[in-house]
Amino acid sequence: MSDQDLVLKVEDLKVHFNIKNKQGGSEVLRAVEGVSFELKQGETLGLVGESGCGKSTTAKAILRLVPSQTGTARLNLAEPGKPSHWVDLLQLKAWDLRECRQSIQMIFQDPYASLNPRMTVGDIIEEPLKIYKRGSSSDRKFQVRSLMEEVGLDPAFIRRYPHEFSGGQRQRIGIARALALNPKVIICDEPVSALDVSIRSQVLNLLRELQEKRGLSYIFIAHDLSVVKRISHRVAVMYLGKIVECAPSDTIYKNPLHPYTQALLSAIPIPNPEIESQRQRIVLEGDLPSPTRERIGCDFSGRCPEVIEGRCTGEIPALIENEKDHSIACFLHES
């Protein structure tokens, strides 16, 4: 992958929070512990993991909504095909950061909470354009209408309020708002988890169409691997703040190497009773370890069915690219 094809490079991102523990002292919650990945132009990277793995925190850290400790998140502002122009989002000062926000936007999980209930749909979609002073008032109105059509909403409803729309339609409003500034990267934070099952594929379809039409790159965050696999080109699996495996989506399903990925895949139900009855489930024992404890050894070693005593409990495995485009952090697969 040449540098020019990449649109986002994240290296060694760490996010720590100081929290007060029950005894009254304070301890460090290591939400994200050294995450690195690359996002190619026009592709979707899926970020998968269970609750507490740090995927949402990673997204928020990239967007500077939470402070990060170390690491870089470099965004390529150049047009595709032109020489790269990288800026580190985590180091930008206030004005530059605001300007760069036009290139990287976010879609949220809860379609009910992510829209201001007291603003009309037109105002919500127009707001980014107003903030960055794009075009005259009538230009903006026209742009809002065309955005609404693009996401599949009837522009006649421009004066309606969010509570008058269904969940799927509200999510479309959120997508239109994210598209308003014509960004290069859109971070989708669980965009279909809160929607009814029958309309999830509508929204996923829309996202895919927009990607093809506009050349967008997505970071698709979800806990449902079935959804992530279908929309992503590559999938990164996270566990307790680190990426444990990263590979193209078909590879992740057909050839998962990390024991956690294998357990995760075996736990996901498939709507096919024959397959279900024949599956060998890897059922993990116990719960997720606390993210505040010191990291000694592999985080997964406490629950791993294939743990190597001594090695796995003593050293932290690094994320190494093992085969073609398949990275893994596990001592079982050291090349």
Binding site: S201, S266, V283
Partner: protein, 329 residues
């Protein structure tokens, strides 16, 4: 004899926006020892059905009407509030979706778990405690002795759901109703809980009604499935039958559109057009008609009735299209 038999149940609510037909003519037949799944999206009426059976729906604003609601041969509607209360938690138990809100945050789990025993079985505290410890071990809570005095917030999500199950099982009910018990949990924890439920069913022979919107979970867990849409049952079949040959367009479309792990990443998404129904303004004919690919003119005006097909597979649809070839098995 069926353990639970419901015939033509209707639950309507008068609201500011009109009459909401939450449940509109639902009939269930649950045999003892089986796992029955009720699958539907939000607004399909699956939760309200169960609340009605248990008598938990307040009658203003609700209006309940049924031909029969029989549990172990007894008509639940003819029971007084006192008698219903004796049943709940004792012979019929329920596990809810959100363990955070269904456990009392102010009571220790010891208090909450021994409560059903003290009320229904008349045991004293020591006997109850013994039983509770045994049950906690059975549901897989490590070191239950030390955790008896803990409060719900001191448990993780998965552990809390196990405590809920222990509470449901404490009086050895013959019927266990689970309302989306794993929806709020992570996938690996969900697998643990489902394994636990399977084990419990095998060991105690409990009948389970499992309500969910996740077809995958239903495929792996249930023996037979009722599919609900807009307050009506649109299809009912044994699980294998249902997934192999769905006869109702809604079931077929749902199976096609749900993203599945075993599909190729590059496949196009199949969508169901339209949006979930507005329960205050249902169409005059079939409620699925606005979104159905196979709708004919009859579907707009006539409401289809539940008809049985071969192999105990019934569906509620007016069309004659053979959907056999449409779904990949």
């Amino acid at each position: 004899m069926a353990l639970l038999e419901v015939q033509n149940l209707k639950t309507h609510f008068h609201t500011q926006d009109g009459l909401v037909r939450a449940v509109d003519g639902v009939s269930l037949n649950v045999e003892a020892g089986k796992t029955v799944g009720i699958v539907g999206e939000s607004g399909s009426g699956k939760s309200v059905t169960n609340m009605t059976i248990l008598g938990l729906v307040p009658t203003p604003p609700g209006i309940i009407d049924a031909d029969a609601i029989l549990f172990e041969g007894q008509d639940l509607r003819s029971l007084s509030k006192e008698q219903l209360r004796k049943l709940r938690g004792n012979r019929i138990a329920m596990v809810f979706q959100d363990p955070m809100t269904s456990l009392n945050p102010f009571l220790t789990i010891e208090d909450q778990l021994t409560e059903p025993l003290l009320i229904h079985k008349g045991q004293n505290m020591d006997q109850a405690r013994q039983r509770v410890l045994q049950l906690l071990k059975e549901v897989g809570i490590p070191d239950p002795q030390s955790r008896l005095k803990d409060y719900p917030h001191q448990f993780s999500g998965g552990m809390r759901q196990r405590v809920m199950m222990a509470m449901a099982l404490v009086c050895e009910p013959s019927l266990l109703i689970c309302d989306e018990p794993t929806t709020a949990l992570d996938v690996t924890i969900q697998a643990q809980i489902l394994e636990l439920l399977k084990r419990i069913q095998k060991e105690h022979g409990t009948t389970i009604i499992f309500i969910t919107h996740d077809l995958g979970v239903a495929a792996g867990f249930c023996d037979e499935i009722y599919v609900m849409y807009a307050g009506r049952i649109v299809e009912h079949a044994q699980t294998d039958e249902l997934f192999k040959t769905p006869l109702h367009p809604y079931t077929a479309s749902l199976l096609k559109s749900v993203p599945r792990l075993d599909q190729e990443a590059s496949e196009a998404f199949v969508t169901i057009q339209g949006s979930p129904p507005d329960l205050t303004a249902l169409p005059a004919g079939c409620s699925f008609q606005p979104r159905c690919d196979h709708a004919i003119s009859r579907c707009e005006t006539e409401r289809p009735t539940l008809e049985e097909r071969e192999g105990n597979h019934s569906r509620q649809c007016s069309c004659f299209v053979d959907l056999r070839g449409e779904v990949k098995s």
